[in-house]
Structures are given as C-alpha cells and as structure tokens.
C-alpha cells in the first residue's frame, strides 16, 4: 500500500482516481461515473498497441477491433506489429532507466508468462486496472483460473485476460492417418521417417512452449516446475528433457541444423508436406488454416496423451503509457461479448473466449451460439484439463541450456 502510494504521487490525477477505484469498492453508480470520465478522457487519444504481428488472422481481427473502437469511442488504435514482446519489455525498461516516466512509446501490450513476470518485477506496469473495466465482470475467473494467475504469477489486476490457449497438434489425415500421441512415439516416428518433425527456434514463443511441454510430459514429477528454479542445478533437474532432445535432434527436419523461425511456419511446412506433425497454441488453428487455404481439408487436430500445456494471454498497460484511458477503453471493448465472440470464430481468428458464456444475458450469448463448429476443431471436452505452465524462471533456464547445447 505504502509503495503504491509513493508511486502514485508521480501519476496524473486520473490514474490516481483509477488506483483508488481498484482499492475502494465504490458504489455501482460511482463506478459508472468513473468509467464515463475514462471514456471522455480517452476520446481523441491514439493507442499504440504492441503485439506479435506474425499471424494474418490476428492482425485482421485487431484491425477490425481498432476500426470499431475508433468509430464508437473516438479512440485511434495503431497496431505496432512486433516479432517478440520481449523486445518491447526491454524498450520500456530502457525508457524507465532514461527517466521517461510519462509519454512512453507503448500504451498497451499483448503479453503473458515470463514477460509479464519481468514487467511486474521491474515495476513497469503502473496501477491495477482490470476492476475499472465494466466488461471484466463477465470474465470466467472461476472456471478459468489462469485468467488470474499467469504462469504461476498472480496478475493482481495489472493485466486483463484476452484469450485462452492450449497446445494442440495438427496432422494431415491423408498423409498420416494415426499420428503419434506421445513424445516416445513421436521419436519413433521420426526415427522411421527422418525429417518429418521440427519445432520453432527457441526463444521463439512456440519453440520454448515445445520445450516446456516435453519437460512436463517427460519428467517424473512435473509439479516441481510450479516452483521457481532453486539452488539445485536446473540442468540436472531437467535431464529427462535433454536426453530426449539429444535423441530427437538428429532425426529432425534439416537434421536439427536449422529451425523454423516461428509457430505459423510449422503450418506452412505441414501444408508443403515437409513435416508430418505441426502444433499450435490455438485449438482452432487447423480449422482457421483450412478456411484460409493454408492447409488441406483433411487436416485434423489432436492432443498428446497425458494432456498439453494451457494458459491465458493478456493485455497490459505500461506505467508510462501515453494514452492510458484510450488503452482502457480498447481493452474493455476487446472484452465485450461481441468482440470475444468474433475472436472465437475460427473463420476470423479462432481464439477461445475468456468470458463466462453461460452466464451472459441471452442477447449477448447469441453471439457465441451462432459460431459454427470448426471442421478440424476438437470438442471442448476432448481437450482435457490443460497442464499448468511452469514458473517463468524455467523459461530462461531452458532457453539458456538449449542455446548452449544446440544453438552454437
């Protein structure tokens, strides 16, 4: 409390008000007034939204949401497409070090995991804001606990959940009718069919995700990784993963001497027939790819025996944002049932909603009920319970060891 108050003294008055909203449970009427004040302050602002820009579906959706927000609220949103949000974390930290405590270059960022943990640890996130958003009340924080806990780190209202993710694997039934559903059978498959599998180059998001999935699937006690890296040697604790990769790599695509730069490239390699199994963090990716002419109609989705990693992805506002109110308005729009339902449509993007759909009023629920089932999407109950993400400190440890072993 004391620290928050000290930080708050340097903030504009409105941010201070928002801080108090977060702390004091105000009356609904008061919250409404406060939101009106945010809407007024936001009008005319330009929000620089920094997010991964490697997917055309995502970019198209963001462009739609930006146009709607400008039309409805007079807030202009510029989608700054970046390759890796870690670069933006570095930039904001550099701005803080240079004393640029207001007028920063980033107003909103698409983030989760170790990058959120780094932002939080360096006090780069300003005041909590999620409780100030009218639509945050619709989020299914009970049914989807990862909307409040990001890779074991509590969000504390510093980031708003935007969508849900779960690792799924994709194969072409016309080429490979029965895909390998364990890491062991995957290894056997590439031993028999060299070059037919690969994963993106860590620290690319999907590459690191594959390392974490393999770590949890292969370790005798995966719960260990819910705790931070400790005093014991992290390499020794993750030995099962490295043994596996040492055996897998010689049989990978390009003999493990080159790796694709990012996740979507796997879809392209699958479509070209270079690999037999791709994976994605979006359960509807295969359906979306079929719809967009990027995969054959025979592509299908499956998950590994024992479950796959799942998490949520978030939107956060840096402490020195230049258009904080505009960012709040944009985030609130992205959480609206209309925007969340559109996002969940595999023909648009296919990213699962964070809202508690069954509790929505009938009119709002209709947006979701109108969604068509994707041809290659697994039913929700087939996805099983997602495995929880390891503590973010493991991300760095895995990436460093990977680089040491295979990066040089």
């Amino acid at each position: 409390m004391f620290r928050a108050a000290i930080r708050a003294r340097r903030m504009p008055a409105l941010a201070l008000i928002l801080l108090f909203i977060a702390w004091l449970p105000g009356t609904p009427a008061q919250a409404e007034d406060d939101w009106q004040a945010v809407l007024e302050a936001a009008r005319g602002q330009t929000v620089y939204f920094n997010g991964w820009g490697g997917s055309e579906q995502v970019n198209g959706y963001v462009a739609w949401a930006a146009a709607e927000t400008e039309a409805r609220y007079g807030v202009r949103v510029v989608h700054v497409r970046i390759g890796d949000i870690a670069e933006v974390v570095a930039r904001i930290l550099a701005e803080k070090i240079a004393g640029r405590d207001s007028g920063g270059t980033v107003d909103l960022m698409w983030i989760n995991g170790e990058n959120f943990a780094a932002m939080k640890a360096h006090d780069l996130l300003g005041a909590p804001f999620t409780e100030a958003l009218p639509n945050f009340a619709l989020v299914d924080t009970v049914g989807l606990p990862t909307t409040l806990v990001d890779f074991t780190v509590p969000t504390d209202g510093l980031e708003a959940p935007w969508g849900m993710a779960q690792l799924v694997f994709i194969h072409d039934t016309a080429v490979l009718p029965t895909p390998p559903t364990t890491l062991q059978t995957l290894l056997m498959h590439v031993e028999a069919n060299p070059g037919r599998f690969t994963y993106p180059l860590p620290p690319a998001f999907h590459g690191t995700t594959f390392l974490k999935q393999a770590l949890l699937s292969l370790s005798p006690n995966p719960e260990r990784f819910q705790e931070p890296v400790g005093d014991t040697d992290p390499v020794a604790e993750t030995a099962a993963l490295w043994d596996y990769l040492d055996r897998l790599h010689p049989h990978l695509w390009r003999s493990g001497e080159a790796f694709p730069p990012d996740g979507p490239t796997l879809i392209r390699l699958l479509d070209d027939g270079e690999i037999d199994v791709a994976f994605s963090f979006n359960p509807q990716e295969a359906s979306a790819a079929i719809e967009n002419g990027l995969l054959p109609d025979t592509a299908r989705t499956y998950i590994l025996d024992g479950g796959t990693l799942g998490n949520a992805h978030f939107l956060a506002i840096p402490y020195n944002a230049n258009a904080r109110e505009g960012a709040l308005v944009f985030v609130d729009f992205l959480l609206s049932p209309e925007a969340q339902a559109r996002k969940a449509d595999y023909r648009i993007w296919g990213d699962p909603s964070v809202l508690n759909v069954s509790e929505l009023p009938a009119g709002e629920r209709a947006h979701f009920e109108a969604l068509p089932p994707g041809p290659a999407t697994l039913p929700a109950n087939a996805l099983g319970t997602p495995l929880p993400e390891p503590h973010p400190s493991w991300t760095g440890a895995l990436e460093a060891e990977w680089l040491r072993r295979y990066g040089g």
Binding site: E56, A63, G83, A86, A90, P194, E257, P264, G273, L403
Partner: protein
C-alpha cells in the same frame, strides 16, 4: 567547428572567397559532414562505453572487461564469427570477380551499354524483398523444385535438403552477390569512363594483345583504385547485414550481427553490455577484414607485376566472354525468378507443392492485406522522400560549392563521406538509439529521417558527383557573362541541364531509404514501421501470399521511383534530343 570540419575534410580554408559565390553555400560541406558524422560519433561512443561496462543509466559506472568475457563465453560466438567472415569475404570476392570478368569481357561491346539499364532495377530492389523472393525460389519446397518435381526428380514431397538457412550460408551468399554485383558493376562502369582507356587499349591491341588480356593488363590496374572504396563498402555491408541474414542466413548459430541484435533486444538489460562488446567486435571484424583486403591488394599487385609484363598476348577472349556471361545469366535469371515468384504468390489462392503454378488464383490477398499496409507504406514513402530531398539539397550544395570555389575534394573527404557505409550499422545505431531515448526523439520522424539520411546521402553523392563534375563549365560561364547571378546560373542553367542525373540520384537515394532495416528498427522504436520492417517481420509465417504482397509492394516502390526518374526527363525534354540521353 565549421573551420575544423572543413580542415578535416581536406578543403582548403578560405577557398570559398577565392571566387565569388561564397556565403551560405560555403557552409554546406561542413553542415553535410556534421550531419553525417555527429550521429556516428555519438553512436560509437554510446556503444564503446557500455562495451567496457560503463552505462550510467543501468547503474554501471566502473569500467570493466566483464562484457568481453561474457561475449567470449556466449554460445555460438566462435562459429558465428567464422560464418560472418566466410559470408562477408566470400560474397565480396565472388561479386568482384563477376564484376571484373564482365567489365573485361564486354568492354566496348553493344551489350555493355545495355547492361546499365538492366542493373538499375536490380540495384533498386530492396534486400529484404529479393531475399524473400529467393527463399520462395530456392527452398526445397520452392519454385525451382516445384517446376522439376515430381516428373524429373521423383520428389513427391519436398526433399529434406538444407538449402535456405544452411549452416554454410550458401543461400545468404547468393543473395548478397545478387545485390552487390550490380552496385560494383555500376561503379566499375563509371570508373572505366573516368579512366577513359580507349587510346591505351588501342595501342595494346595494335601490339597484338587480345581484348580481355589487354583490358586486364591496362585498364584494371587503373580502374581498381577508383572502385576500392565501393568494394570496402560492399565488404563492410556483407559482414554486417541483418535483414538478408535473418531471411536466408543460418540460425544455429546466426551471423554475428544477428546475434548482437538479439542481445540488444533481450529483456535482461544487462545483456546490453555484452551486446555492446559484440557490436565493437563487429566493428573490429569489419576493420580487420578491410585491412586484410588492403594487404591482399598489395600482395596481389606485387605478384601480378611479372604476369602483367610477361608479354603473353592472350586469345580473342571469346571463350572468356561466354564464360563471363554465365554468372550474369544465372544471376539475372535467379533475380527475375525471385521477383516473379513474389508476384505469383501474391496472386495465388492455393499453390501446394508440387504444382508448378498456383492451382487457384485470387486478388483476395491484395484486398485483405493492402489496408493494413497503408500506414507502413506511407511512412516508407514519407521518410524516403524527406531523406532524399535533404540529401539532394546537401549534395547539390557541396558540388555547387566545389564548382564555385574551384576546389577539388581530397581523398580524405571521400573517406569521410563513405564512413556511414564502412562502419557496421549495428556498431553505432544502438548508441544512437540511447541518445534518441534520452532526448525523447525515438519513435519520431526526426530520428527516423536522420538515420536514413546517413545512408542515403553517400549514395546520392556517388550518383551525382560524376555527372555534375562532367558538365561543361562553359555553360555556366556564358550565363555569368550575360549577367546571371551564381544562384540564377544554378537554378536556370545547371540544374535543368542535369535534371536527369539529379532524378536518377534521387531514385537511388529513395531506394536506399526504402531498403533500410536496422535504422528503422532502432530509430522507429516500433512506432514507425516501414514496408521493410513489415516484410522482415512476416518472413516466417504460415501465409506466403501475405508475405508476397508485402514484399512485392516494398519492391515496387523504389522501382516506381526509378521509372519516374526515367520518365520525367523524357517528357520534359521531348523536344531536346541532347538532354534525353
């Protein structure tokens, strides 16, 4: 300051008053050098200090060698360094060899003059666009494999061959050779004109030397010193290229410059100290490679002396000529395929391996992608036009001062002008970014345009200096005799007569600006993005069609600039035959 800079540039002080027309124009050479050199000095300081542990913003104040020991311990640095040297020196040697053989073989032939027209579009093609197109063509699932599969190769599925992103960086070297050879050829053609070797060649031919042999013995030794600086610029570029390396280069490990960029972008800011050490290593690599190249020049000159005077006449050179045509044909073919594949993919609806052509066509990708490209396209255009306009004003000012003051630029001045092309971008742009953040200029237009100007200006100068100096001085003198003031002479006589070379220089400057990747990344701070940063950002990805639209637009913009540079004088001078050529 102005005096000091002028002295540094080797311009005689007081020369401006030597003839009339001093005044404001005498300040332009100094202003130009300040514009070029101050960011580099600031940037180098901001890179060298952190490399020795001094970065007060991070709380690092005591000098230490720790960043260097971290650098030496970083995985992949040793192999990355070897790959960097292999790529840089290999691609430069190949480009130079092709340049020299083509110049020697085709000197004085009809094709020699047509060559220039073919080279301009290649020169204007941005590195990233060409690299993306090449990847479309060369990859195991690329166009070439599709054209010959499965009927000739039996490849029902793409072969698991390491062709693009290969550890030996063959794809990257091919890309660099395709981009650098046209530049060296154009510089070489200009140098040959400057040397004016025809009488000497005739003497040698009369003495019975074959055409190629005579060229090698008589012209090359005089042409080489004139293209030495461009060669060093090519070498420095190839050793530190980033965008092409990201698309075509190896990734386990990547080249040194790519590694350094990754460290600069690491969320762990203390990595920036090690990254700065890496940037210094990059500078040392470039400096060392240039020094080694210079040494090799001296050794080759000594070794070649007896060969030059051994009296062997050489044959008619027909075989040599045909042999030299081979790399040219392959190169032009590959570049043509690369650009065509961008066009095809942008119009494809579905194009699966191994179909030789898209199986379904559609304009939908264009319709879907263009709206999102509006902003980057506008930023690309505005930055390119602004940087080119400033560069033109400065360069014309310098050349006009040179003419009025009757001074000749020294060799030292030329080296200073080349500085931005010789110092690796990664070596000073990080320091520039630190300064931009401190002055809150990052992500703004001033920083972006200035950072592009550093690279646009030298090329504009190179393109304009020769035609400007070649203009017959008697036109200006006649005008002056009729009572025209120096400025009136400039605007009514000199510039109209030089409209064509001015526009070509502008087109070259614009294409250089469009192609800039790293300056845009650092100065644009992600807020100002261009078609180049968009294209490189999409270069992985699932959707080749969207990437093709982006890269095609990026490539089309500078080509349109060149088309305008050719069309405007043709229209303006449709009644003046002599000014059209």
């Amino acid at each position: 300051m102005a005096q000091a800079v002028r002295r540094l540039a080797g311009v005689r002080p007081g020369a401006a008053t030597h003839r009339q027309g001093g005044g404001w124009i005498a300040l332009i050479p100094s202003l130009t050098l300040i514009c070029l050199l101050s960011p580099i000095i600031v940037g180098l300081t901001g890179t060298v200090l952190p490399a020795f542990g001094v970065m007060p913003a991070l709380g690092a104040e005591t000098p230490t060698l720790a960043p260097w020991s971290d650098l030496m311990a970083a995985p992949g640095v040793g192999r990355g360094l070897l790959v960097t040297l292999w790529v840089g020196i290999g691609s430069t040697v190949i480009s130079l060899a092709i340049t020299v053989t083509i110049l020697a073989a085709w000197h004085g032939r009809v094709w020699f003059h047509r060559l220039r027209r073919v080279l301009s579009p290649l020169l204007a093609t941005p590195h990233a666009g060409l690299a993306i197109g090449l990847a479309f063509v060369l990859a195991p699932a690329g166009w070439i494999a599709r054209l010959i599969s499965p009927w000739a190769t039996g490849w029902d599925r793409p072969p698991d061959l390491l062709i693009v992103n290969d550890p030996y960086a063959i794809a990257l070297i091919i890309g660099l050779v395709l981009k650098e050879t046209p530049f060296l050829l154009l510089m070489g053609i200009a140098a040959v004109h400057q040397v004016g070797p025809d009488p000497a060649l005739q003497v040698a031919r009369t003495a019975g030397y074959g055409p190629v042999s005579a060229w090698m013995r008589i012209v090359l030794p005089r042409v080489y010193p004139l293209i030495r600086l461009p060669i060093y610029a090519v070498l420095a570029f190839a050793l530190s290229v980033i965008d092409m390396s990201l698309i075509l280069g190896p990734n386990t490990p990547p080249t040194l410059a790519v590694m350094v960029l990754r460290w600069f972008n690491d969320p762990d800011l203390t990595m920036r100290l090690m990254a700065s050490a890496g940037a210094c290593l990059q500078i040392a690599v470039v400096a060392g490679a240039i020094a080694a190249w210079r040494l090799a020049e001296i050794v080759i000159a000594v070794l070649a002396r007896p060969v030059l005077s051994d009296g062997r006449r050489g044959g008619s050179g027909t075989a040599f000529r045909l042999g030299s045509a081979l790399p040219a044909v392959i190169g032009l073919g590959l570049a043509g395929l690369a650009l065509a594949s961008l066009g095809l993919w942008s119009l494809a609806d579905r194009w699966r391996y191994p179909a030789a052509l898209p199986t379904a066509w559609s304009l939908e990708t264009w319709g879907r992608t263009l709206p999102g490209l509006g902003r980057p396209a506008w930023i690309t255009l505005a930055t390119g036009v602004a940087a080119t306009a400033i560069a033109l004003v400065l360069v014309i000012g310098c050349l006009e001062y040179e003419r009025r003051a009757g001074v000749k630029p020294t060799n030292r001045a030329l080296w200073l002008l080349y500085t931005p092309l010789l110092v690796p971008q990664i070596g000073f742009l990080f320091g520039v970014q630190t300064a931009l953040v401190a002055t809150q200029l990052d992500g703004g237009w001033i920083g972006l345009i200035w950072s592009h100007l550093l690279f646009v200006l030298p090329y504009v100068f190179l393109a304009l200096a020769d035609p400007w100096r070649a203009l017959d001085d008697r036109y200006a003198r006649s005008a002056a005799c009729l009572g025209a003031s120096p400025n009136r002479v400039l605007f009514r006589v000199v510039l109209p007569m030089l409209l064509r070379p001015v526009l070509v220089a502008a087109a070259i400057g614009f294409s250089v600006s469009v192609a800039q990747y790293l300056p845009t990344v650092f100065a644009g701070a992600g807020r100002l993005t261009t078609l180049t940063t968009e294209a490189v950002g999409l270069s992985g990805g699932a959707d080749r069609r969207v990437l093709a639209v982006t890269a095609f637009t990026q490539t089309a913009l500078p080509l349109l600039g060149f088309a305008a540079a050719l069309a405007i004088p043709a229209i303006r001078f449709r009644h003046r035959q002599g000014l059209r050529a």
